[in-house]
Amino acid sequence: MSDVGLGFSLQPDAQFLALTEELLEHVDLVELAPETLWRSAPRGAAQAAETAAVGAGGTGDPSPGGHAGGSLSWEPNGYFATCLELARRHGLGCIAHGVGLSLGSVEPSPVRRRAWWRAIAQTQAAFGFRWYTDHLGVSCPAGEELTLPLPLPFDTVHERAVRRALAELRRLVPLVGVENTVTYFSLDEPLAEPAFLGRVLSGSGSCLLLDLHNLWTAAGHGGFDPEAWLDRAPLERVVELHVSGGSWSPPEWLPSGRSLRLDSHDEAVPEEVFALLEQVLPRCPGLRAVTLERMEGTVEEAQLPLLEDELRRLAEVLGRRAPLRALPDDGDRCGAPETTSSPVSPVSAGAVHDAAQDAALDAAQDAALDAALDVERRLVSLLRAPDPEAALAALLSDPQLSPAARRALARVDGDGLRLASLLVARLRFERLVQGAPDGAALFTEDRAGFTEDFRRYHASQPSLSLAPEDEWQAFAHWRQRAPARDRPG
């Protein structure tokens, strides 16, 4: 294990970067979320880029899974250069770990995907990421930028969607992969996830980022044994391990008074996570790095000794005395033996069919895709509903609900759904405040009034862009044209 690199996550926050720079002396790698290094390109440039793409053969049609109101193009923001300089100054390698690519979207908007590929290529050109991972989940369901990775059913349609996204990403970065995600509710059997990961990653250059805090947290939410999950997981595919802490949601957030563990990267790494690390290390032959994660805004000077201790402890577990600096070559694939196709499944089987069989398969695929899109749309409506649990109950009593959607949604835990809906609202609130000309004053000057406006806006208006300024413009526009009964004040 002495040739495994030690990593630390960099965040787009001036105070975080200044305070934690000292810690970089202990590590070999820095991890960045590429999209936090971007901003939406000026509208003219965005439209020109998309027009050029359309003129060169792109469809340019964002529907279905539409993306009509969102940013079409990204360009580097100033943290791009800041983080690049920091990595160069300390001679550190870079790895990418995103959140918003939405690997599990079954029918992603081609406009959105093109914008992401362009931005990733540009970022990769500068940072030379050794690998790029994103979360197993859907953060842009049915074309809405909810930004929180949501769970997906572990079926063939989603398997194909994730594999396709990874294959496209692999054209830009030599190694790609997915991370097991913390979700607050499930659409499938949680212990089916490791086998699903095995199928998704069964190609060349596809790796697993195993987040141990996520596993421990998900086990708590889903009521399963993390060791049982690990026994089923493709550990030979693990390229990186994540270690982090988290905190618990306040009891007053949920009517039940229940607290759920949050994937918040804001507290000390729990002992249970260190124990999982020691247990799993010998079982990951292709492991290249162990990364300690922290979120922006969670580090004060007083926390630095804790972080330093955690990095030292990780170095000890890995049996290292000093940073490696020169890491072994990653090669072009994870440590697992090559397999050329996923395990046979009813839809993706590579067998020879006659015309009738092909037609039947096409029909089955179309039906499965429609069902998956239906689940995405239903999830969006639940997560933006004023009372998600009541909306879920109403939905499940609707006889028109498709069997696939019913099967998936029947598994949803009410508390988890409500918590996820709060996080979705909070993320949108943050984008709105960030994009508003007067920033936080928009909220702080009239907390109750603003919240009421936001509630109506959030419930009635789709969330179409990641960019704060787009969110602000949409909100301002809504306020101008909202019917009198919905108008603020």
Binding site: A14, E35, V54, A56, A125, V173, H265, F429
Partner: protein, 331 residues
């Protein structure tokens, strides 16, 4: 070629172009990528304003053999391609310097910049429009194109690097002490770089008398706006900031001595507004990020405005907790 044959060939060509996957579409080194400013149209715009075109030169390179996508490495570039990575890194090291120059310069510098029409472009497309006299392999920081000339002049010499990678930590030096020392060096280096840019621009503009520049602006301004400008400059007249900015050298030339400072200040204020809210076309720096990140391009030591959140994780910052308390209470 017969008309029908010509049309067939044209149709075939268009068909091939239309079937080219959009992600692999390329431009030649001298061509302009859709993300970039077009030097030809920027020069035409400068000429219509009667101002010189000031180009903040983008060092991004294109490999002519690979015919890579301008301003970015092509999507199928080899991830181990060091040349491509170096070009991209050079670009993102230089752009923040331009950002700091326009966002944090004193009013005198902004007033100087207001005499020009600004854009940012790579050297190759610029050379398709005008002659630029720089040694092979050198990428100047600034290029000035007079509105009535076909030749351009470049800021001679390379400004001092604002990078401070060579500031070593002393043995046993506390990191916080080292970081503070390095930040001070970094700030001084950046300020020195900005001073070189400002002095260089002043020397480029000194090549012709201000009266001549004023006459060029006057020729494009039109009688109505000229009268509005002059009216604003008379005793008791109210100066229009945007018009003073548009009129550049003419406003300074016609301003009475006692109102010169006011004109400069108005031009600087407008320049700041224009280039803070909308960077010159082709320039790349930022105010905000895709996931709620914050203002950047501050000078070292001047912290940017803090963001409130990131992308999709479970951490809930204090302001958001406050919001959720209301959100939950009123549900």
């Amino acid at each position: 070629m017969k008309r029908r044959t010509f049309l067939a060939w044209t149709g075939l060509s268009l068909g091939v172009a239309a079937s080219t996957p959009p992600l692999l579409r390329r431009v030649l080194p001298g061509e302009v990528h859709p993300h970039e400013a077009d030097p030809a149209s920027e020069l035409a715009r400068a000429r219509s304003l009667g101002k010189p075109l000031l180009v903040l030169v983008d060092p991004a390179a294109v490999d002519p053999d690979r015919r890579g996508e301008a301003s970015e490495c092509p999507l199928d570039f080899a991830p181990s391609d060091e040349e491509c990575t170096a070009a991209a890194q050079a670009r993102w090291t230089r752009q923040p310097v331009f950002g700091a120059w326009l966002r944090h310069s004193p009013p005198e510098t902004l007033a100087l910049l207001a005499l020009c029409h600004l854009t940012s472009a790579r050297l190759e497309p610029l050379r398709r429009v005008v002659d630029v006299d720089v040694p092979a392999g050198e990428v100047p920081w600034l290029v000035l194109v007079e509105s009535d000339e076909e030749r351009a002049r470049a800021l001679p010499g390379a400004p001092p690097s604002h990078r401070v990678a060579d500031v070593e930590r002393e043995p046993d030096e506390e990191f916080s002490v080292y970081a503070k020392r390095r930040a001070a060096v970094e700030e001084q280096a950046m300020l020195a770089t900005l001073a070189v840019l400002t002095d260089g621009l002043a020397s480029l503009l000194d090549s012709r008398p201000q009266a001549e520049r004023a006459a060029q602006v006057a020729a494009t301004l039109g009688p109505k706006r000229t009268e509005a400008l002059l009216g604003g400059l008379r005793d008791g007249g109210t100066l229009d900031d945007a018009l003073a900015f548009r009129a550049g050298a003419l406003a300074l030339e016609r301003a009475p001595q006692q109102r010169l400072a006011e004109v400069s200040a108005a031009q600087a204020a407008e320049a700041s507004r224009v280039w803070t809210d909308n960077a010159p076309r082709g320039a790349h720096w930022a105010r905000s990020g895709g996931c709620g990140t914050s203002t950047v391009c501050a000078l070292p030591g001047k912290a940017p405005r803090g963001g409130v959140g990131g992308c999709g994780m479970g951490r809930v910052p204090a302001l958001s907790r406050d919001f959720l308390a209301f959100f939950v209470r009123h549900a």
